[in-house]
Symmetry: C2
Subunit: 309 residues, 2 copies
């Protein structure tokens, strides 16, 4: 299965996450040649470490052909915008307006392709993972935040900016769940109620310390099922992939699938109703999807084939 | 401004609505040559009247070149499906599984292009109305039902089937609004709480008899604002066009715009935050958008250029 990749250019992939920056080098995303991880600190510090890694490894291996970045958001991913590649209004104040794309283009001297982390992960799941052969699907991450990459008709869907499905409104029963939510903008939106930090704030211990039988998970499954129902009606996807730290609790999947069927109540697109087990699934690439997506973005940049609609 | 259209083929446009079937004939959508309206009764009866109209007018004018249908839903609008053009699981039991497209193709002997009514209306607003020059927008109808046509990157977005945003979940305060909703599948989803019939059931008189100062409208604006906020976060459109019977109450627009800003609370795409008055707008084509969309669909069929992604 191995291709002769000695003559294909070296690609740099960067998953710029809220907690870590993951760096990978490859000629083909299936064969990683080098990798490194740096914590997300002050921009100058983190960016300098990433740059040093890519420079050193490229000196050892080969000159770089292109770079792909799958970045935390909000980030300007509109290729027609003068601010394309800049971080936008994030709660990480040090990072606001940082020109991620421009900085690497200047310092590495190669073309750079940037997308959101979830759009990058969606791309990787489409090419190499749980959405191969599927034209309409959604990749959701449920972790420090909640976000989604949406692929319709085979292409990543962006509007004026990228979607931010984590901020959709939820139906919350205040008697059952008095926690008011932790979104700094909306309180009890989806992210405010169901991201990792919300779990910890509501139950006063990290999600990793909550046993599977804890009432926390039924509530968590309900909010994520509301999200899946809304995504089902808004996009009519063939599959919803749920990734991110919170979804490593695999027992959540059957709880969510069951609740989604209750919410849809027999009304919805055939893939959602007929095959619940293959409709809501975990990622096939696990925590690798963001990095692999970044490499695919680099590859597309090289071939003049950007992924967005 | 008039083109020489004598040599361009005659187009049949049908807006197949839940209440009426509106028929138009034109060479160019800007110049309607004949029109008729028939109530939505038993399929055999309504379809026979529509067919007779198109046959008689075409005998008088010219042979037909193509037909476009903008149909109520749910309808199979997936061109790759064996059921493309059939009505799906609608509460109008007589119409379930009726092959709208096949019937007209057979009886009129011309190519037929079918989309949902809201996708048709979106197309018309894009070409001739309130979304000219805008690549990312949403057309919503709020009437007997609630549905949306979504255009991203200039193209109509469909997943496995067409979206059904009317069934998204709402945040409902049962103390403020004890009405449990009238959706036969979900009770208090968006459509169940905010369609025309819900207004009438909740307040025990038709919406047309509720004065602008009635508390009904603040509640109505709240649900429609929740919808606009969710659409904003799910799609990041540049504009949301609100049409349909309920939106003929023009005083709803400022109420909705104000509530949307409260819900977004300063977080969202620039078009939504910076220009509320041009972000949420009425249709420019009024009640004509469905019919004009049907003519545009016919035109696209003739030119081998179907609109969907």
């Amino acid at each position: 299965m191995l291709q002769d990749t000695q003559n294909t250019p070296l690609l740099a992939g960067l998953e710029a996450g809220g907690t870590n920056f993951n760096c990978v080098l490859a000629r083909d995303p299936r064969t990683i040649l080098a990798r490194a991880r740096f914590p997300t600190e002050k921009p100058e510090r983190t960016l300098a470490k990433v740059l040093a890694f890519f420079r050193e490894e490229s000196a050892r291996l080969d000159p770089l052909g292109a770079m792909g970045i799958a970045s935390f958001g909000p980030v300007d991913n509109n290729r027609a915008s003068p601010d394309y590649g800049r971080i936008l209004n994030t709660p990480k104040r040090d990072w606001v307006h940082i020109d991620l794309l421009g900085w690497f283009r200047e310092h590495l001297g190669v073309p750079v392709n940037l997308e959101t982390d979830v759009n990058g992960a969606a791309l990787a799941e489409q090419r190499l993972g749980a959405a191969q052969g599927i034209d309409n699907f959604i990749y959701v991450t449920v972790g420090t935040g909640i976000g989604a990459g949406i692929v319709m008709g085979g292409r990543i869907i962006n509007g004026f900016t990228h979607p931010e499905v984590g901020h959709m409104r939820m139906s919350r029963d205040a008697n059952r769940d008095p926690f008011p939510g932790c979104c700094p903008f909306h309180g009890d939106c989806l992210e405010g109620l169901a991201c990792g930090p919300a779990l910890e704030l509501r139950w006063r211990r990290p999600g990793t310390e909550l046993p599977p039988a804890h009432q926390a998970w039924e509530l968590q499954a309900d909010y994520l099922a509301q999200m899946c129902a809304n995504l089902t009606y808004c996009y009519a996807p063939e599959r919803i992939i749920l990734g991110g730290g919170v979804m490593q609790n695999a027992f959540l999947f059957p709880l969510i699938r069951e609740r989604v069927q209750q919410l849809l109540n027999g009304y919805g697109p055939p893939p959602a109703l007929a095959h619940p087990d293959s409709y809501i699934v975990p990622p096939a690439l696990g925590g690798e999807s963001g990095q692999l997506g970044a490499l695919l973005l680099a590859q597309q940049q090289l071939h003049g084939n950007p992924p967005a609609a």
